[in-house]
Subunit: 528 residues, 2 copies
């Protein structure tokens, strides 16, 4: 087959021995791009695993500085190719090149790489803990080869060769095997070329950064179960995520999974009375952004049945009707979105506005608003918590606040939960009853704010209870915490001083904050 | 049935409605104690779950101080009843009352409770992280009802109503449902009475601390899968542990599992040449301690085939022959130990010394030394890594250092790994090749030290890669890290200042170390 792209295997761009391949299309035109990307067979997956395994033994004692320097240079390379990369990604995803991609997502991505570099350099994620009396010292350290599987909706910021998982897995000192997402294979290849060039310049071992495009689901799970893989990360559908989780769980391997979220928004009565029109703007802006293709799209809204809520619903419906349908990430994604909306309607949700695919080859769907009563919702909790990935939301019109509280106590885990309340304090009593229920059921609790927009901040938690993720103690965003997803806790008991990792030795030339004899300090340890 | 003991359900000592019960025996005499302990049915498990669920809603916003004060008073109560408790536990476990129990384990247990109290009071486990610019604040918080299942070998320090899991689950602010271990039901009941008395004094909600003795395996797994349970901890056999893991994994619930470990010891050639007799003492002391019934018993020793190793083996064999067999925790435990030793021999291990049950009703077994060659070990890696829980060790006589390294790279995860090397540096090259392999395969790497003896230290890691535990990022021992096993990460985005948890508000009257705008500080936040 002509035009088959090479895989990045053990430091070399290598022709795949597989006869199978996949291609990617332009969602704005339906046109298929000429490049073929191999579906890797087990032989080459095995070679990648072996190379990663060997690379880990090479870098296991490297200081964070070497990874930091690499990440920063790679960020520079991405910045330098920003316009080209944005154009390629635009052609694969339909996302606006100047505003969303070059203007926003690529800078966010290189910022993440730089923050990860800083975490690697400062060892802030390691929590070095020292007990001088007992001669016991411990900290988080690299764990080994990481398999990364990014989602469809962020060709840069969550891409397995450039995104948050890549940045943090490497910052922790782990080899990375990136699996491309099938919707942006060309973008991924282009970045991997840069990643590889910079890796050569930095003399990284051959198997430290590798790229495979695709594989059979069976081989993918076999790879995750292989003892040479020590950790994995996945962002995508719940169906795939649960299979990946099971494969890793069987072997007790840490795996970070982000597996869909409906992000409940609770509109308390006083807030709607006080500032309904303002909230219409806020909600519609959030739900229409990026064709609603965000993990944090506000997909479920709770409103008490009263005139203010009706006005809010009416206002949002008007906004949705007036909104221009946007190009979605793929025609498959649009069709899957449509199926999810059909499913919700089949279960009894009433269509308020939208609901239809837009004719044409440009992957568009009408923004869609659905509604159910609180009683309906309670009778089919599982079904009505199904995510529809696009500009849509299910409004749940509850009888009263008591019903809202009952539902809040029974919802599945989500990435976020938003509570809007009045400024005059009239909602405070309801807030105080709802907040603890929502708080422990989500990764991030918001007040008077929509969940879209995930700041890359040390205090961010982009995580949450199952089934939103696989474990409520970890976050995909925010340094240094997100680095710890790719680590293990290592303890040194009576280990001779010169054999300790530098971060645990008496001298602390890097001024790392360390927990020494139960106190945080950046000082050297002076022993008598 | 007469003499059936009540369960601690929803704050009240309650007669079980179950017709089934279990009893406990004295391992030193074979005598069965008269008390019956109910096997709880689903109805009472369900009531316990509901009570725990409701208790959580009551305490969800309580400051750490309230849990701290409880834990400290409970520690005082245990101290005050130390002699009685030690006698009861001695009669159930055969462990020496004055030295091991009253003299060592109970003080360790109350020390753990006090360290957990300090962690709760100081919020040191929460890692409060604040981004003032973006108005995002996050920290680890309580997660909800915890089911705790302790092991047979520590009637106090790991008991589900007094041990490290109990202390840390409560310190994090979670309700606890303790399941007693069947080998020390009377001890557990006695402590639960104290726990309950102190709870009443502290006006804790009724469902915060509950005790069930036993249940069917099916009901146990059903309990773990119930949505009201949010986290669990288990220390015990791999067979049970894997079932518990699966039940929790299905629902993405954090679970800390300690599931057996053989704790490899690598005796490098120079160390044995240099100080063989000293190492014989050290090894035999560790392996014979407490009848070898420790998670960290040195169960696997690697030696290069040479005269020093033969002398070491001979020396240990003599120590084992001369050692007085000790009362084991139970006759069942002794029999199970014996079966494990038989299994290893069936697989080809050669008996060096010991191997037999000691006649009589006092649950004794000879200390046992087995050996295999490195080739044998490599041909049956899984079999020869089976734990035999008692005073025994499998010596692996490898051909050469290269074979030792090959094996080290393929071992299962363990709690600990010990490397003994010469003081003159002649083993350093071997050490440097072995250490990275051992390091990433264990929770704690030791130099010139046996793994038994787990200091309760902030820097301790009593954890490790699967299958020793369920996740390599968590530890069962060491405050504050072990508290985080029972927590989730909670983020507050734009949440109104007065609604934030106290630890995340601008004022920091407790002087908690917080990571504010990427710097550790104990200061208040001054916003303009």
């Amino acid at each position: 087959m002509s035009n088959v792209q090479p895989i990045l295997l053990n430091g070399t761009w290598t022709a795949s021995s597989s006869a199978q391949s996949i291609q990617v299309s332009n969602p704005a035109t339906g046109e298929t791009f000429p490049e073929h990307f191999p579906v890797s067979n087990w032989d080459e997956i095995d070679r990648a695993l072996q190379a990663a395994h060997e690379a880990f033994l090479t870098v296991v004692n490297w200081p964070g500085e070497r990874f930091a320097a690499y990440l920063e240079d790679y960020a520079l390379a991405l910045d330098a190719h920003k316009e080209t990369l944005a154009q390629i990604a635009h052609s694969e995803t339909g996302l606006p090149a100047p505003t969303r991609l070059a203007g926003n997502e690529i800078p966010r991505t290189t910022n993440q790489l730089r923050q990860a570099a800083q975490a690697a350099r400062q060892s802030s994620w390691r929590i070095p803990t020292i007990d001088t009396k007992n001669k016991i010292r411990s900290m988080y350290q690299s764990i080994g080869p990481a398999v990364l599987m990014g989602p469809n909706n962020f060709p840069f910021a969550y891409n397995s060769i450039s995104g948050g998982d890549f940045a943090t897995a490497l910052a922790a000192g782990n080899p990375v095997i990136a699996k491309a997402h099938p919707l942006h294979l060309r973008t991924t290849l282009e970045m991997a070329k840069l990643a590889q060039e910079v890796a050569l310049k930095h003399k990284l071992p051959a198997g430290l950064i590798q790229l495979l495009y695709h594989m059979s689901p069976e081989d993918g799970l076999k790879m995750l179960e292989d003892p040479r893989v020590k950790v994995a990360a996945f962002t995508g559908s719940r169906t795939a995520g649960l299979k990946i989780k099971h494969a890793c769980d069987k072997h007790g391997k840490p795996v970070f999974l982000e597996m869909s979220s409906v992000n409940p928004v609770y509109m308390l009565p006083g807030a709607l009375t006080e500032r309904g029109p303002e909230l219409v703007e806020e909600f519609a802006g959030s739900c229409l952004l990026g064709a609603g293709q965000f993990c944090t799209n506000p997909g479920l809204v709770f409103l008490v049945d009263n005139p203010s809520s009706q006005a809010f619903l009416q206002g949002v419906a008007e906004k949705f009707s007036a909104a221009q349908p946007q190009i979605m990430l793929s025609t498959q994604g649009r069709d899957s979105f449509h199926q999810s909306l059909k499913f919700l309607q089949k279960e009894g949700a009433q269509l308020v506005v939208g609901g239809a695919v837009v004719d044409g080859h440009d992957s568009k769907h009408q923004p869609t608003l659905l509604k159910v009563t609180g009683d309906q919702f309670l009778s089919k909790m599982t079904q009505f918590q199904e995510e529809a990935f696009g500009s849509s939301s299910l409004f749940v019109i509850v009888k009263d606040v008591a019903q809202m509280i009952v539902i809040a106590g029974q919802l599945q885990g989500n990435l976020t939960g938003s509570l809007y309340s009045s400024r005059d304090g009239s909602d405070d009593e309801i807030y105080n009853r709802l907040a603890p229920l929502v708080n422990r059921n989500v990764g991030r609790l918001l007040n008077d704010k929509m969940p879209t927009g995930v700041a890359v901040s040390s205090a961010m938690n982009h995580g949450g209870p199952f089934p939103a993720t696989g474990h409520p103690g970890f976050t995909a965003v925010g340094m240094p915490a997100s680095v710890r997803r790719f680590s293990m806790l290592c303890c040194y008991d009576n280990v001779r001083p010169e054999r300790l990792p530098v971060e645990l030795q008496d001298k602390n030339p890097g001024g790392i904050p360390r927990f020494v004899d139960d106190q945080w300090t950046t000082n050297d340890i002076v022993t008598n």
